[in-house]
Symmetry: C2
Subunit: 329 residues, 2 copies
C-alpha cells in the first residue's frame, strides 16, 4: 500500500503506474487454504507471475502456518523466495503469530499480514487466544520488526477478521472493531484491514464501520476485505469507496469459499472488482484482458476448483475503453 | 408504486404494510421470455401467489406480445385474470405497443409497463421504430387509458431499456436518457423505469444518470431495472439508493439471462436484493424465508432452468433479525 512510513527498499512501489485504488490478490492464501488439493509450487508461481504481469500490485502468496495445520502452505518458503523475484510486485504473506512473522522476516517478504478476530469467540476458536493476547502478540511482532536493520523491515498490516459479523456471535459491536483497530494502530501497524470474513456486511454497515475506523486510526491506510457469501460483496465495495477506502482484497475467479457455509462463495471476485472500479474511472493498474487470461492457468492447475465471475462469462461491454487506456492515451 | 396520481380502485396499495423500498418481481416476464420451455399456467400462478404471500408488492406477470413472437406468453390472458385475484398484489404486464396496451386494459391489469430503448439501434432492431415513433406510441397508449372510466385506468409506466449501455452502440448519451425520460413523463407516464438491459452500468454512472433523470421528471417515481451480467448489479442498487431511488426490479433466483451474452446472468437476484435491503434497515415488506421457499416451486416447474443466488446457498447470518421483524416487534 502507499504512503507507508515504514516502507524501505523492500517496497517496490516507486516503479509502479499511477493508481487510484490499490488491490491485493488473496486467492493463493484465503482461496487455497480451504482447498484440499495441493497446488504445485510451480503453478502457484505461474499464477503469481501472470497476475503481476497483468498489473496486480500486491499478492498475498502464502501463510506462515505449520504445514501440518494447512498442508497447502507446505511450500511457503519456496513460494515466497521465488515470488520476491517478480518485478514490481509487493509480496505479502499471512502470519498467525510471532513464529510466523519470524519466518517471513527471515525470508525477506515485503509485507506481513497479521490477523486477529474482533469476535472474541472466533478468536478463541481460531487461535486459542483472548483478543488482548492477540494484540500483545502483534506488539511483539512489531518489536521484532524494529530490531531489524531499516532495509530488512517488512510492512506490517493489522487485519481484523469477523469485523462485520461472526458465524458464532452474529452481529459484532462497532465499538469493539474501533477498539481493536486503534490497539493495532497504537502497537505500530502500518496498515489496517477490516474484514467481512463470513459475508454478513451490507453497504450501510460498511459505511458506518469504515468511517469510524478511519476517523480513529489517523493517516493509516484502511483496507477492506470482503467476502461475497451473500451477494453483497461489490455493493460493499461501492459503499467503502464512498467512505474513502482505497485498498481492497479480492481473489481471482472468487477462488475460495466459506468454511461456515459449504458451497457458498468466498472472497469477492477480483476480475469483477477490477471491471467495476475501471468502469467507475478509477485506475487500478490492472489490464482486464490479461487478468481474465490468468483464469485459464488456475483452471489448468486445479481442474476441480469452483470458479466464479460474471465478467468472464459475459465479456467486456461493446466498445469498452478501460480507464487504463484512457489514461495512457 | 406509491403516490400515484392515476391510481384508482385498481391499485390495492391501501392494504399494504409500510415499505421503504418498493420491489417488483420480473422473473415471470423478463426471466421466462428467453427460456425455451413453456412454464405451465398453473405453475406460473403458483409462483405468483407464493411470492405475493411472501410480501412481494408487485409482479410483472406476463407480456402482451403475440404468442407467435414469444410462445412463453401464449397464456397472457389466463395468467393476468387469475393473478388479479391475488390479495394485495399489483399485477403488472409489459406492453410493446398500443395493441398490447389494449389487451391489458380490457383484462383490467393494474399496471402497464411500456418499454422503449434509448439506444436508437436497439429500438430499431427490437420494435422496428425510431425512438420518436415509440414516444408517439406511448402517447397513444396514454390517450387510450384516459378514454377509460376513472376506475378502469391502469397505471402506466414508461420504461427505458439500454439506458446505461447497449450491445450495439456501447455507451449511451446521458442527454438521450434524460430526453426520453422527459418525453415519456410529458406524455403522461405515472412512473419511469430506467433499465440497464445488458449489465453495463457501474455505480458512478448509475448515480449520475438517476440523479439527472430524477431532477428532470419532477415528482414521478423513477425505478431501476438492473441486470447482473457483469457482477455489478447490487453495487448499482446501492448507488441508486444513494441517488434516492426507491423502486427496483429483480427476478427470483436471477431467473433469466442475457440474449447478447449466452450463459451470462440476467436480472439481479431478488432474494439477494431483499437480503441486502433488509440488512440495510430498509423495509421491503418481504419475508426472506418465505421468499427463499418460492425457489423450490420454480425449480420443480422448470428443472432445467439456471438459478442463481448467494443467500440461498449460504443462508441467513447467525442471529439475523430482519428489519421486518424489528418493525413488527
Amino acid at each position: 500500500m502507499q504512503n507507508n512510513s515504514a516502507s524501505g527498499p523492500l517496497n517496490p512501489s516507486a516503479a509502479r503506474p499511477a493508481r487510484d485504488v490499490f488491490l491485493r490478490e488473496v486467492g493463493l492464501r484465503d482461496g487455497l487454504q480451504i482447498h484440499s488439493t495441493f497446488m504445485p509450487t510451480e503453478q502457484k508461481l505461474a499464477w503469481i507471475r501472470a497476475e503481476a504481469a497483468a498489473g496486480m500490485p500486491e499478492i498475498e502468496v502464502t501463510s506462515y502456518v505449520p504445514a501440518r495445520v494447512i498442508p497447502q502452505f507446505a511450500d511457503a518458503e519456496a513460494v515466497t523466495v521465488q515470488a520476491l523475484g517478480t518485478p514490481g510486485l509487493t509480496v505479502a504473506a499471512l502470519v498467525p503469530n510471532l513464529r510466523g512473522a519470524e519466518r517471513g522476516i527471515e525470508l525477506g517478504v515485503h509485507k506481513l499480514n497479521f490477523v486477529m478476530s474482533v469476535s472474541r469467540t472466533h478468536n478463541l476458536k481460531n487461535v486459542r487466544r483472548e483478543r488482548e493476547e492477540s494484540i500483545a502478540d502483534f506488539s511483539r511482532i512489531v518489536e521484532r520488526i524494529r530490531e531489524q536493520p531499516a532495509d530488512r523491515r517488512p510492512i506490517i498490516c493489522g487485519g481484523l477478521s469477523t469485523a462485520l459479523g461472526c458465524s458464532y456471535e452474529g452481529r459484532i459491536s462497532i465499538d469493539d472493531v474501533v477498539r481493536c483497530a486503534v490497539a493495532l494502530a497504537e502497537a505500530g501497524a502500518n496498515e489496517i484491514v477490516v474484514a467481512d470474513t463470513v459475508g454478513y456486511a451490507d453497504p450501510t454497515l460498511v459505511r458506518t464501520v469504515f468511517k469510524r475506523v478511519m476517523a480513529e486510526v489517523g493517516s493509516l491506510p484502511v483496507g477492506a476485505h470482503f467476502h461475497d457469501t451473500r451477494g453483497t460483496g461489490l455493493a460493499n465495495v461501492a459503499a467503502a469507496l464512498d467512505a474513502g477506502v482505497r485498498h481492497f482484497d479480492a481473489s481471482l475467479a472468487g477462488i475460495g469459499g466459506c468454511p461456515f457455509a459449504p458451497g457458498a462463495t468466498g472472497n469477492i471476485v477480483m476480475d469483477d472488482l477490477c471491471f467495476m472500479l475501471d468502469s467507475m474511472g478509477l485506475r487500478t493498474g490492472v489490464d482486464l484482458e490479461k487478468l481474465l487470461a490468468v483464469r485459464a492457468l488456475v483452471r489448468e492447475a486445479l481442474p476441480d476448483i469452483e470458479m466464479h465471475g460474471a465478467l468472464a462469462r459475459a465479456g467486456l461491454p461493446t466498445g469498452y475503453v478501460s480507464t487504463r487506456e484512457q489514461v495512457a492515451a
